[in-house]
């Protein structure tokens, strides 16, 4: 006996969308703190933190987010000795994932501030922390905003893999509704549309910011031939 896809099923899917947004928001905030630490470590004048931060980024950007999720899930299970619910694993994995990408983006932004700014500040005898905070950060923020907003899209999309370890967000909610209604034809395209409805405006915002803050090298679109 299968159910039809009605209002209740639609509400269940929307509920899943809510969890996708909550998870993305948490990962963006905790990952933002982590990313700040990674970026600062990469800008350090001491060799060891720089190496550690680069290694961290290499590892996290060189492996699938799904594997990171499995490792967090089973790693936490090993540490605590019990099989747990997916929540802590999902939070840990997406925080570490977002920290790597945001750390890389923000380090690149600080690095793109003209060398002469660093040199002039140093020649004035300013402390490293003051240089970062008062000279570099205000200029780097401008460069960092468009790619940071762009990363948010990547993050929202990547949370779909949380469905694979049983976390009920948008994709998993869709799968569960397909299981009870057997209407994959309608439901999966609907799930895709809902992701699109969230991600597309953020993408548009990112490219608008890029044009507005003139950070990209892309000239205004024109046809070539």
């Amino acid at each position: 006996m299968t159910r039809g896809f009605g209002w209740h099923e639609f509400l269940y899917v929307l509920h899943g969308l809510g969890w996708t947004l909550v998870l993305s928001a948490i990962a963006m905030s905790t990952g933002g703190i982590g990313g700040l630490i990674i970026a600062l470590a990469r800008l350090s004048r001491v060799r060891l933190p720089r190496l550690l931060a680069s290694g961290y980024i290499l590892l996290l950007q060189g492996t699938p987010v799904l594997m990171q999720l499995f490792l967090a899930f089973y790693g936490l299970a090993v540490l605590s000795g019990v099989q747990m619910d997916p929540w802590p694993a999902v939070i840990v994995a997406f925080t570490l994932y977002a920290a790597a990408f945001l750390g890389e983006i923000w380090h690149a932004a600080a690095d793109a501030v003209p060398r002469s700014q660093w040199e002039a500040a140093r020649a004035l005898g300013l402390h490293h922390a003051v240089i970062l905070l008062r000279i570099i950060a205000p200029q780097a923020v401008r460069l960092a905003i468009p790619p940071t907003v762009g990363f948010l899209v990547q993050l929202v999309k990547s949370t779909a893999v949380a469905s694979i370890i049983g976390f009920v967000e948008l994709t998993r909610a869709g799968q569960l509704m397909v299981n009870v209604t057997f209407r994959p034809m309608e439901i999966f395209p609907l799930i895709a549309l809902l992701y699109f409805a969230v991600c597309w405006p953020i993408s548009l915002l990112a490219s608008w910011l890029e044009r507005r803050l003139e950070t990209g090298q892309r000239p205004v679109g024109r046809t070539l031939i």
Binding site: M67, P184, M185, I225
Partner: protein, 225 residues
């Protein structure tokens, strides 16, 4: 924590893991090559095609870039059979990765094409080259020089992202790892090993593509645009 790690069992199943890695490699390289060809075609049609075609392709690109690969695969594998299009899991995975790469690739190629000085195109037109020859020799091939690094990164992202094809039962590295961990109960060890294999593949791909870049575009012409 009284868990004892046992990596011996992973070593015993080395062959199966490598079989999975081989499919991951074939899917990613296949998706890359076919996807890149499609991307070239899309980039061309977006320049010369009639308005509805350009609009359609633009929508396609935005839709792919703003929805998760996992959901795209679900639509291909679970929704299409309702229309009578039944794809084998491995084939659906290849089609999904190809269509995904085509969208990102087309956008990267377009970015590269915008770096071509307009004078070159006018010169080609003045010499009486056809639109297709102008596109091929004056726009597409020279713009690969600019687009190559971004295409390389996108290939690595595709390879790592391909781990989600396990969710539609394609037998890639992740799927093989899932099966092995469920029969041996050594989840952490197997995912750790699989993560290591993905990392090696990603690093090897980056190295090879960097070598190819130096080889294909000798330093003389690089940089000075």
């Amino acid at each position: 924590m009284d868990y004892v790690f046992q990596f011996g069992v992973v070593w015993d199943h080395c062959d199966e893991l490598l079989d999975g890695a081989w499919l991951t490699l074939r899917l990613s390289v296949g998706g890359f090559l076919i996807g890149l060809t499609l991307a070239g075609l899309i980039a061309y049609l977006r320049e010369v095609g009639p308005r509805p075609v350009r609009f359609g392709l633009g929508t396609y690109i935005e839709f792919i870039r703003n929805t998760p690969l996992l959901v795209q695969l679900f639509v291909l594998y679970f929704s299409l059979p309702m229309l009578g299009i039944r794809l084998d899991a491995d084939i659906a995975a290849l089609v999904g990765l190809t269509l995904n790469f085509a969208a990102y690739g087309a956008e990267i190629l377009r970015g590269g094409m915008l770096s071509i000085p307009y004078g070159h195109i006018e010169a080609a037109r003045a010499l009486g080259l056809s639109r297709w020859r102008t596109f091929r020799h004056v726009i597409l091939l020279p713009s690969l020089r600019v687009a190559f690094p971004a295409l390389s990164s996108q290939f690595v992202l595709l390879m790592l992202g391909s781990s989600v094809v396990s969710a539609i039962s394609a037998t890639d590295l992740t799927a093989v790892t899932n099966t092995l961990q469920s029969t041996t109960f050594r989840a952490f060890e197997f995912y750790f090993a699989a993560t290591g294999i993905y990392l090696s593949m990603a690093l090897a791909a980056r190295l090879l593509l960097a070598l190819a870049y130096v080889r294909l575009f000798p330093a003389a012409g690089r940089g000075a645009q």
